[in-house]
Symmetry: C2
Subunit: 243 residues, 2 copies
Amino acid sequence: MSGVSTYGQSKSDLRVLAFDVFGTVVDWRSGVMREFAAIARERRLTVDPGAVADDWRRRYRPAMDEVREGRRPWAVMDELHRGTFREVIRKFSMEALTESDIDRLVLAWHHLPPWSDASAGLSEMRDLYILTTLSNGGMALLVDLVHGGYLPFDCVLSTELVRSYKPDPRVYQLVPSLLGVRAEQVMMVAAHADDLAAARGQGLRTAFVRRPQEWGTGRVKDPDFPVDINANDFHDLAAQLGA
Amino acid sequence: MSGVSTYGQSKSDLRVLAFDVFGTVVDWRSGVMREFAAIARERRLTVDPGAVADDWRRRYRPAMDEVREGRRPWAVMDELHRGTFREVIRKFSMEALTESDIDRLVLAWHHLPPWSDASAGLSEMRDLYILTTLSNGGMALLVDLVHGGYLPFDCVLSTELVRSYKPDPRVYQLVPSLLGVRAEQVMMVAAHADDLAAARGQGLRTAFVRRPQEWGTGRVKDPDFPVDINANDFHDLAAQLGA
């Protein structure tokens, strides 16, 4: 709960909660595993769906970094996923998969299940704060997640709007610049310390949400710097925010 | 109901409904009149609130055109409203108004009442289609309207994202480009023929919604070109869309 007192000093001034999505709002691992397991049965593959999901996800940050650092042209997350999944295919010798299977798997990221507390917790916070996404997912992908998950966001913001990826500072500046508030009136909510560190560097407040099942391990690595809020789930976050 | 048959031919392919907001979803005239009437009482002004609202609104298109045509730098709608209201003050000799009164009036556009059928009608359409705004209002303004009106949009898109105004073709291209659909999978919904004409020019489908009280006159000027749907309100639109 480090930093709660700092937060409390200007609580009434907080206007916008900006949510990371993958791992924070939705459970990418279960969603990808489920789709992969269905396809694996059809193709008679005996590869562990959890290992595939985890390996695919680990290849995501390096691909984004290539774009962010200008080593490859802008590409939305779907395109990055398509490219990195070819590497996963080689690693697990899954050449039996067809192009249509790959399409299905890339599309699975558009229909990931929200964590069980996400929709209700967001509803609790919605009356007091403006809720937006702030995610590496492309606009189309995020809109599909918001729509399919009945997630009560007021706004969808994606790093696509600056054609870069986290932790590019321009990503975090999107929220104050488009929503007409000062940086300190925005709180970044994420299950990942690196996202919060970058948000903090741009003057946003920070809320860490513990998602011990993001990688299926039950373990969480708390940020090693002070955050304004450290919450166990969205209900706890709502309660700490006075909602 | 012109064009309904054309629309029906590929009905299942329609994915996104893009809504104009001022006049189509929200009742700018009543909202502005109410705020102005309250301020006029405080300042002992005897100016007709309807005349002020209508005059202010008529100055909006020329101001946007200046930006769109590059005759003045980019400015969000709030800034245009602030500038055009100074002209309204001169016209109606309302020099008694203070800067804080002007702030209140500019902000009134962030809290306009939705038409009575808007929220429920959108909810009816939401299960079958992705719902986005596509408005000249800035992102902050639109997010306030969506939030305050409990409007179940999946996404907020503003002409601010291309730093221009309707009928700039880039405005209409925002929807297919950001939401990952083809232009013909998008239907522009508006109470204004010129908006629909521009959308049609970019390959979007068109739905005209009759809003006879937009200017308080009870009169509607139907488009003089074929639209895919001509609806009396959002419930009628939902019904014609099979929702």
